[in-house]
Structures are given as C-alpha cells and as structure tokens.
C-alpha cells in the first residue's frame, strides 16, 4: 500500500523538480492525444512549447509572451499574498473588469484633451476601482464573517453585467455606428498604454508585473508583513499571539490583490485590448488563480508559471494555424498541464512510502 508521510519541511529538491516532471508528463500525454488526432506528436509538441521561443519568427513571439503573461503575473502576485495567509479572493476577474471600467472611464472623460496627467490618473482610477471592488468581500468577511470565496465569486457576475451595461450605454463610442464598445483608448495618445520600446512588448503593464514580482519577493522574505502573512497561513492561532490583527490582514491582502487586478485591467484596456467591449474580459482573473498555484505562491515561481501559461496560449495558436490542430485540443492540453502540476506537488510536501501503515 502507498502511504503519504508529511515532510517536516517542503523538499527543496522536489519543489524544483516537480514542475519539470509535470511538463514532461504533459508532453507524453499530450503527444498521445495528438497522435490519436492524427497529428505528428513530436512536431506538435515542438510547435507548442518551442516554436514561440526558438522558431524563425520568435523575434515576434517573445515580446508577445510578455504581453500575454503580464496580466496573469500581475494578478497572481496580488492573489498570492492572500492565498498564503488563507484569504481566498477568487473574484480577481471582477476586480480586473471594474479596474478597467474605472480607468477607461477616466480616460474617456478627458477625451480628446491632451495632457501627460491623464494616463497616471487612469492608472490610479484603475487600481482604486479594483481595490474598492475587492473591499466588498473583505469588509463583509471582517464585519460579518461572510465567506470571501463565495462573495468575491458572486461579484464577478455582477461586474460582468456592469461591463455589458457600460459597453452598451455610458461608455459607448458615439462614433461607433451604434455598435457596442467604447472608443479605442490605444488610439488616444494621452490615454494609450503603448509599447515603451517598439517591438519589445514592454508596456507599462509588463513593467508593473516585474515591479510587483520584485516587491513581493522582498516583502515576503524580508519584511515583517511577509512574516505575518506566512504565519497566518500556517497557524492562525500563533499569528494572533504574535500580534497580527486578522481583520486588518484580510483587508490588506484583499486590497493588494484587488488593486493589482484593477491595474492589470487598466493596462489591458488602455493597451493591448484598446477598448471596453462586452467580452473585454477573457478570463485572466481565473487563469491567474491557477498561475498563482502553479508558481507555488512564490513570486519567482509565479513569474515562470505566467510565462508557461502564455507559452501554451501562443504556441497553441501557432499549432492551430500551422498544423490544423483543433482549438479544443489546446484547452485539453492546458487542462492536463494544470492537473499534472497540481498532482505532482504532493511530492514536495509528502514523502511516498510503500508498505504497511506503521506507527508514527
């Protein structure tokens, strides 16, 4: 019989080896899947995982990895604080939407004025919008003990309806021939979040993501707040004795994750997406939850996990276009990758032994 025995400390070797193991397992199972679909498994795997990095057109795909990965990393970093402390904000999608709406509304209010102040104001509005939206489940938990997982999830649907209302109503482009959707912010110089160096993929959102990673790394490893977060997650009782105010911690963690999700939404709407539309949100908020776990809630891990997710998106598109692979096969492969990454993590925290149940 197989027994799992909890390790005193997570194994550092396994925590590095498990992601590699998961990717290899995904490649094997994915290869089998592609073979049954009548595609060459080796070519398909190479196209998805390597072509974005090393093919003839990698000079185009590499910057795209930054654009696709930045919102995921930015949101996931914010979420990781709460997740470490046992505070489960799974409504980042809603905070992302509200951040985008608030930021875009500020930008559109100034249209067509020209000022260097507009973009910074939008950034503030975006962060504030996400923060306030996240405060709702935060305050409800602190005041009434309401489960924040469920409240934050419910608020995603509310935000989606709000988005539809904005795209059809208040923020609709008056020159858009009656179609839903706002003016294109990326064509409004004062509000646009364009590439800082053309062709590099670096826009303010990417910069913010990198800054967030560094900030999170320092906070978690060096600052007392990081210690409080980790302690609260491991032992809430001990944290209370150590003087952690649990209510305040909830509000701070929700606030950080909400503000970063709002920022991600603002940078997306002002740059790559360009406009508020009914389907503006494409699930970054939910994917970021997965990214946070794949990265083991560690800032550097999240950075790598965000990159890996972006890779499968971009590689998946290349495989669809060049090899005629169905889009559904890519979704399935991503699902598999996540399953394997989640499954093998058990090796980091537990020792596998074979034999009879012994006495501890």
């Amino acid at each position: 019989m197989m027994i799992l025995e909890k390790r005193q400390q997570p194994s550092p070797i396994w925590s590095l080896a498990t992601p590699v193991l998961a990717v290899i397992l995904t490649m094997i199972c994915g290869g089998l899947l592609f073979a049954t679909l009548g595609k060459n498994p080796f070519e398909t795997i190479r196209t998805i995982f390597l072509d974005p990095l090393f093919s003839e057109f990698a000079w185009y795909y590499r910057p795209q990895l930054l654009i696709k990965g930045a919102p995921l990393v930015l949101i996931a970093i914010g979420l990781s604080f709460g997740f470490r402390a046992g505070i489960w904000n799974i409504g980042a999608e809603g905070q992302y939407i509200v951040g985008a709406i608030c930021g875009a509304a500020v930008g559109l209010a100034f249209y067509p004025a020209n000022s260097a102040l507009i973009f910074p104001l939008m950034v503030m509005a975006g962060a504030l919008g996400g923060l306030l939206w996240a405060m709702i489940p935060g305050i409800l938990r602190v005041k009434f003990g309401t489960n924040e997982i469920l409240v934050s999830l419910m608020l995603v649907y509310v935000a989606e309806q709000l988005l539809a209302s904005m795209a059809l109503g208040a923020l609709r482009n008056p020159e858009g021939m009656g179609f839903p959707g706002s003016r294109n912010l990326s064509q409004y110089p004062s509000a646009a979040n364009l590439e800082l160096i053309a062709g590099s993929g670096m826009h303010w959102g990417v910069v913010a993501a990198f800054v967030a990673v560094i900030f999170a790394y320092i906070t978690l490893s060096r600052h007392v707040f990081g210690f409080q977060v980790r302690l609260s997650g491991q032992s809430p009782r001990a944290a209370r004795f150590a003087g952690v105010n649990p209510g305040l911690l909830v509000l701070i963690c929700m606030g950080i994750s909400g503000a970063l999700a709002g920022l991600a939404g603002l940078f997306e709407v002002a740059g790559p997406a360009g406009q508020i539309s009914i389907d503006f949100n494409v699930g970054y908020g939910f994917t970021a939850i997965i990214v946070a776990f794949l990265g083991r809630l560690h800032p550097v891990g999240i950075l790598l996990a965000g990159g890996l997710m972006a890779l499968t998106y971009i590689g998946g598109e290349i495989a669809q276009s060049n090899l005629g692979l169905p889009g559904a096969a890519i979704q399935l492969l991503q699902g598999m990758l996540l399953f394997f990454l989640l499954a093998v993590d058990v090796l980091t925290h537990y020792r596998v032994r074979f034999g009879k149940v012994g006495v501890a």
């Binding site: 057109f57 000079w59 185009y60 795909y61 795209q64 654009i67 696709k68 539809a164 059809l168 109503g169 021939m177 009656g178 179609f179 839903p180 959707g181 294109n184 990326s186 064509q187 160096i197 053309a198 062709g199 590099s200 997306e268 740059g271 790559p272 997406a273 360009g274 406009q275 539309s277 009914i278 389907d279 503006f280 494409v282 998106y313 971009i314 598109e317 290349i318 669809q320 276009s321 060049n322 005629g324 169905p326 889009g327 559904a328």
Partner: protein, 357 residues
C-alpha cells in the same frame, strides 16, 4: 539599428519570400470569434473556408484559428498568420476591426478582409451581408401565417444590424397583415441556449405564434416545437433538423461565393480594396427551403418577393415609411441609402417599445 527598423526589415524580407511562394499556392487565413462547432456564425464562415478548399484544390491552402478573443489576441493571431506567409486573411467578427487595421498597416503586401466593419485601407476590404433582405421574406411569411397576429422577435443586442432586421420583418409583415403586432425581447447574448429557450417560451406564452430569432442556437426552435402550433425560422444556418415544422424557412449565411471570388482575385492579381454589402442576389444571403407547412400561395408570393429583391427590382426599405415617432423617413418611392441603414438606430412607425440604450 532600432527595434522598429528590425521589425520593418523582417517584414520586408518576409514580404519577398511570400511573393515567391505565391506562385505555387495561395495561402488564405481565417480567424473565428467562436468555435467552428458553434453551429452558427463561426460554423458558417468555416463552411465558406471548406468550400474554398474544395473549389481550388491544391492551388489554395487554408489555415484557421478558432475562439480568438477580440483585442490583443486577435492582433497576435493575425500577425502570426501574416508572418507565416498568408496572402489573404478573413477576419470574421466586428470586434476584430481595430486589430485588423493595425496588422494590415504592418503588412502592406498581405490582403485583409474584415466582416461587418466600416474601417478600410489599401489592403483592407470590408464585407457584410444584407440579412435584412432575408428578414423581409420572413416578415412576409410571418404576417400571413400568424393567427394570433402576434409575432415574437428575439433580438441579441440593440445594434444596427439587429434593428434593421426587426424593421424589415415588421414592414413586410404589416404589408400583408395590417393587424400584426411585434413583441421584441433582447436576450443580450448571441448564443446562450437556456436563455434563448426562455425568451421563446415567454413570447409564446404572451401569445406569439411566430418566433423570429437573431440569436444562433436552436433552442427557440425546440421551445416552439414543444409548444406546438408555433412557427420559426432558422438563423445563420438552415436548422433543417426542425423542418417542416416549426422551422418553415431560414436565412443562411453563405460566405462561399464571396470567399471564392476574393481568393480568385488574389490569384489573378486583381484584388483591390472594396466595401461589399451583398444580399440575396449575389448569393451571400440564402433563403432556406420554404417547407410545405406554408400554404402554396404564401410560398409562391414569398418566393416572388425573394426573386424581386434578388434582381434588384425591389428594395425592402422603400417609402413611404415613417419613423416610430411619426416623422417622415422615406418619401413615396424613395429607397433607403446604405449610410442610414448601416447606422440604423430607430424603429419604423407601428413598432412599439423603445430600443434600449
């Protein structure tokens, strides 16, 4: 050398290599907003792509990417197709307008075709279908088939495309049945079977015995079938599985003739940027077989109306027509201009209710 000139240089080099390839096969790309299995909008565009492959055989290679979100993802997929040597790319959703414009500017040698949009460039055409012509035929049948004199209409979003369809159907229903009344509900979705079924049921409960839909799923057909004595029309695809009742006819998006003609133009080197808005005549809008549930005389007059529209002899928006508020829109014999139709945001006289803003 700056990043920008690297990009430009690479694009240029690629343009040359594309030119060399073009002698053998022409590569045509498609991007779809939904999955090709949606049975509606994206499905029909993909049928057009398959017809293209059938027609040209080895002379044309097609590629496609499905379920591409509008925005940054679309721009990336388009760029990727252009980089991989596509000669012609069809972008098949309104939301791809700005991404297509951006990518078209970067790849002057690649031809782009954007569906349902209004922004054009030297290498970017737009195309759309005059679905309202098909709606006229539906209205004509609906007006004569209804016994309760209530026609239910499931709208998706209050945008010109949908409003045009409602007006067109209403005008032609009214012409054959002065007592007809339209009940419009907005589902705020293009595709949500559960909601569409509910919308159809609600309309039927409120007395409608004809359901017109501008959403893509077959759920309203099933709801009508369950209720009995209600007729419907297929939308986007034929929905023939529900014939002869409740589905008595349909509007089919038929992109094949256009896709074949435009690809031929690229092969011949005669492609130019245009704005195409085709209807029943050129075959972009097809009227599905009118089933035997429709009396022979109604069927004959509906087909006559279809043929008159196809030949250009009759325009579905011909005066005298007033707007909902009673003000004159078109004088006697006057026909609507395309500009007004493209941005249509008002109901014609006789329709009740307000368009949500």
């Amino acid at each position: 050398m700056t990043m920008k000139s690297v990009l430009a240089g690479a694009t240029l080099a690629l343009g040359l290599s594309t030119g060399a390839f073009a002698q053998d096969t022409t590569k045509v790309g498609f991007i779809y907003v939904g999955p090709v299995g949606d049975g509606g909008w994206s499905y029909e565009h993909n049928q057009g792509r398959l017809a293209l492959e059938e027609h040209f055989g080895d002379a044309v290679e097609t590629v496609f990417v499905e379920s591409v979100p509008e925005g940054a993802d679309a721009e990336r997929v388009l760029t990727q197709m252009a980089l991989q040597g596509a000669d012609l790319i069809f972008t098949t959703s309104f939301g791809y307008m700005d991404p297509t414009l951006n990518v078209a500017a970067k790849f002057p040698d690649v031809k782009f075709e954007h569906a349902t949009g209004f922004k054009r460039a030297d290498n970017l055409s737009t195309y759309s279908a005059r679905f309202y012509e098909g709606r006229a035929v539906q209205g004509h049948i609906a007006g004569q088939m209804t016994e309760s004199n209530i026609v239910g209409y499931i709208g998706s979003f209050p945008i010109p495309e949908v409003i045009r369809g409602i007006n067109s159907a209403y005008i032609h229903a009214k012409a054959v049945n002065p007592d007809v009344e339209f009940k419009v509900v907005w589902a705020y979705t293009w595709f949500d079977p559960a909601k569409e079924a509910e919308a159809a049921t609600v309309l039927i409960e409120q007395g409608a015995d004809v359901i017109l839909q501008h959403t893509d799923s077959t759920a309203p057909q099933a709801a009508a079938q369950a209720a009995g004595n209600v007729i419907t029309f297929g939308q986007a695809s034929d929905m023939a599985a529900f014939a002869p009742l409740p589905r008595v006819s349909s509007i089919i998006d038929n992109w094949s003739p256009y896709y074949i003609a435009r690809t031929q133009a690229v092969i011949d080197g005669t492609w130019t940027s245009t704005d195409t808005w085709d209807g029943i005549g050129p075959g972009m809008v097809k009227i599905g077989e009118i089933s035997d549930a429709v009396p022979a005389d109604v069927k004959a007059s509906a087909e006559a109306l279809r043929d008159a529209i196809a030949s250009g002899e009759y325009h579905p928006f011909t005066g005298p027509l007033n707007k909902q508020d009673g003000s004159v829109w078109l004088a006697d014999g006057e026909t609507a201009d395309d500009g007004t139709l493209a941005g249509m945001n008002f109901y014609v006289e006789g329709l009740s209710g307000v368009i949500p803003q």
